[in-house]
């Protein structure tokens, strides 16, 4: 896949070839950010809610072992079969073995970023199991054979005309039809058939309540419920960080989740699943997949507080102007950029650099993850671990040397300004990425330091040439 070989900058540059599309993508996500702002500002205690959620998650991360065992114990009492998976392979194998033992060859799946991380669909399809994504956005992405570009809005990068084209190609809608209502009706008709005929349904988990052994799945489409209620075998896959200690904590998290994600007061469906119906089997798979390794990294453990609302993506100007697929990782945007290096540092070495460190992400985050500080820290780790390009290492060493000495700095500064003034084409050329779409600053004849030496000292404002020896009053 071409996507696998290009870094964020190259993929983002390709995304920017169609500026009108970038404007549309940016505007659509900014609109959601504004809806989030309105929802957040309608609640006077918003900032206290964020703080409370952040602290509850701190407690969870510090006591994860105990909460997981408590959760497992309660699940078992409720009649749910619990599985533990260390990695994607083990998770996929468990799902497959559950289906195979019951000779099930078709499964319906609601939104689960974890199963995207595990590449479950590909795994099952290779083994003859037909999987259909029931979340509309994920359904569209599946038809188009593309991963989701956003954790809440999987096909936000596609315009309705593109979706109409995909439906025409795969579902046989009339060519040129792009009316969202018509397309949705068509998808619903197709999915309804799948809901009724599938014996197995897999859902994700938004919140897993340790004290009761229940889990909560939030959707706007009711697709998780439809799948679960009509299935003989209900499977839920969750990362081990999804635990919350008590049911009463849902009052905090459910208020934060939908407001942060889309500006809604709450998701249309916030469904609690606790015990199987008569004749139904329920399975829950607890998946580590790098979580415990991340938990062991003091600078990055708080990334596991994430409740997958996507607010950091919607607010991130880099995300809005580069598209989720440019992050070449299941979880894109700022949160993806601090989670991905934990999984594969070499492959994702570019992601912490796909940010201006503007800090907007950390301040919309409903669980107050210090995302931009972690981006900065990952940069340090990636360089220390040797994943920075050699040219960059040399450049940075040269810069550090220049700036460590006042003499070399002023010589090079003077030289730089002289070049700008006298041979600008040496700098203003196609090899200079600054100059491609921007002018260089004018090269003033005199630096401030030179001006100061001439003017202020003559004026008597500065008398000593050795300020280091002076003790200021």
């Amino acid at each position: 896949m071409e996507r696998g070989t290009k870094d964020h900058a190259a993929l983002a540059e390709a995304f920017n070839q169609d500026e009108e599309h970038v404007n549309w993508h940016d505007g659509a996500l900014w609109w959601i950010r504004q809806k989030r702002d309105m929802a957040a500002k309608n609640i006077p205690e918003w900032e206290q809610l964020r703080e409370a959620a952040s602290r509850i998650k701190s407690n969870v991360l510090s006591n994860l072992h105990d909460y997981l065992l408590q959760f497992e114990d309660n699940l078992t009492k409720n009649g749910v079969t619990v599985h533990w998976a260390a990695d994607a392979e083990e998770h996929n194998r468990i799902v497959y073995s559950i289906l195979k033992a019951r000779e099930i060859t078709q499964m319906i799946k609601s939104k689960s970023m974890l199963t995207e991380e595990c590449h479950l669909n590909e795994y099952l399809i290779e083994r003859g199991i037909d999987v259909i994504n029931s979340d509309l956005g994920e359904y569209i992405q599946q038809l188009d054979n593309e991963p989701p570009s956003h954790i809440v809005l999987p096909c936000i990068h596609k315009r309705k005309e593109e979706i109409g084209e995909i439906f025409h190609e795969h579902l046989g809608t009339e060519k040129g039809v792009s009316d969202p209502t018509t397309l949705t009706r068509f998808a619903r008709w197709h999915l309804r058939d799948a809901f009724i005929s599938r014996r197995a349904a897999l859902t994700g988990v938004n919140f897993a309540v340790a004290e009761t052994g229940e889990y909560v799945v939030c959707t706007n489409e009711g697709n998780a419920d439809m799948g679960a209620h009509l299935s003989d075998i209900q499977i839920a896959s969750m990362g081990i960080e999804k635990i919350i200690p008590k049911k009463q904590h849902l009052g905090i998290f459910l208020r934060l989740l939908a407001r942060s994600a889309t500006g809604q007061p709450i998701t249309i469906y916030s469904s609690h699943f606790k015990k199987p119906r008569a004749g139904q089997e329920m399975h829950l798979i607890l998946v580590d997949l790098g979580r415990s390794r991340q938990l062991g990294r003091p600078d990055f453990r708080d990334s596991l507080k994430c409740i997958k609302c996507g607010a950091c993506m919607n607010t991130c100007p880099v995300y809005r102007k580069s598209g989720g697929l440019s992050y070449h990782n299941t979880i894109s945007g700022p949160i993806g950029a601090i989670l991905a290096p934990n999984l594969d540092m070499k492959k994702h070495a570019d992601l912490p650099f796909a940010s201006t460190l503007c800090g907007s992400c950390s301040n919309v985050c409903p669980v107050k993850i210090n995302i931009h500080d972690q981006l900065y820290q990952w940069r340090q780790v990636i360089v220390q671990e040797g994943y920075a390009a050699n040219t960059k290492v040399l450049g940075m060493k040269a810069m550090a040397w220049t700036l460590s000495s006042p003499g070399s700095y002023s010589t090079i500064g003077r030289a730089g300004r002289w070049v700008l003034n006298n041979i600008p084409f040496a700098i203003n050329n196609k090899f200079n990425p600054w100059y491609k779409q921007r002018e260089m600053p004018d090269g003033p004849k005199e630096s401030f330091g030179e001006w100061y030496a001439k003017n202020q000292r003559e004026n008597g404002a500065e008398k000593s040439e050795l300020p280091l020896t002076r003790k200021p009053a």
């Binding site: 983002a12 921007r438 004018d442």
Partner: protein
């Protein structure tokens, strides 16, 4: 009170007029200002690129130049934030701690330390404020749009004292311009697109000048304005606060 004037490396080389305005403004307000001539850079370009371990010499030099001043003031929120967060000294941690807490961005020094309540400046133009992210979300020079919290703005507080100046409202009052240090060349396409969109917002809302507490943002926006032969100008806030025309 003696203030050590910290003029970031690129301001020294490319924007001496902003540094001069900063010096003159402080002097007008009766402050004793000293510019230590042996200063270079705070080390931020290396640190933000993942090379914080190479900034030891910059830190040492910064302490040599500035540790003895009562206050250290710079016309750059970004560099100030870097120093506040990352100036360390293995040999003398206490000195580094004290120095970090004495560093101020110019605007916050004027509003919080000098408590300036009037200026003699005149700048009869329509001005849009570009909020530097490091000034806004790092130094809290104004309230950010992300939080449900009471609004305030130190730059606006000062600009409101300037005769004839009219502030323009923006569609997106605090979105990043896309400079981002080495991001501006490493992620050229996104950086420029972000900058273009900021410039468009200011132009659409009638700004004649774009001002900011950070020249790095302005250098980037100015590069885009110049390329597009725009009549809109980028100007550091010190130049407005020091303007008498």
């Amino acid at each position: 009170m003696t203030v050590g004037l910290f003029i970031p490396c690129y301001v020294n080389q490319f924007y001496p007029q902003a540094a001069i305005a900063t010096l003159q403004l402080l002097q007008k307000l009766g402050v004793d200002v000293v510019y230590p001539p042996r200063q270079t850079c705070c080390g931020q370009p290396m640190a933000n690129s993942g090379f914080e371990h190479l900034t030891q010499d910059c830190n040492r030099l910064f302490l040599e130049n500035f540790s003895e001043f009562d206050y250290i003031v710079a016309p750059s929120a970004s560099c100030v934030l870097h120093v506040k967060q990352h100036l360390h000294s293995p040999d003398n941690p206490a000195l580094a701690d004290r120095t970090r807490s004495n560093v101020y961005e110019l605007v916050e020094f004027l509003t919080d330390v000098l408590k300036v309540d009037q200026l003699t400046a005149r700048f009869p133009h329509k001005v849009g404020i570009h909020q530097s992210c490091h000034g806004l979300r790092g130094l809290y020079l104004a309230q950010m749009s992300e939080l449900n919290a009471a609004p305030f703005s130190k730059p606006v507080q000062l600009l409101n004292m300037v005769d004839g100046l009219e502030l323009v409202d923006l569609d997106r009052p605090d979105e990043c311009c896309g400079f981002g240090g080495t991001f501006c060349v490493a992620e050229e396409a996104v950086s420029v697109k972000m900058g273009k969109d900021r410039v468009t917002d200011h132009m659409k809302n009638g700004a004649e000048y774009i001002t900011s507490v950070d020249l790095s943002c302005l250098m980037h926006l100015e590069g885009i304005l110049h390329r597009n032969r725009s009549a809109v100008k980028a100007v550091h806030i010190a130049e407005i606060l020091n303007a008498t025309l």
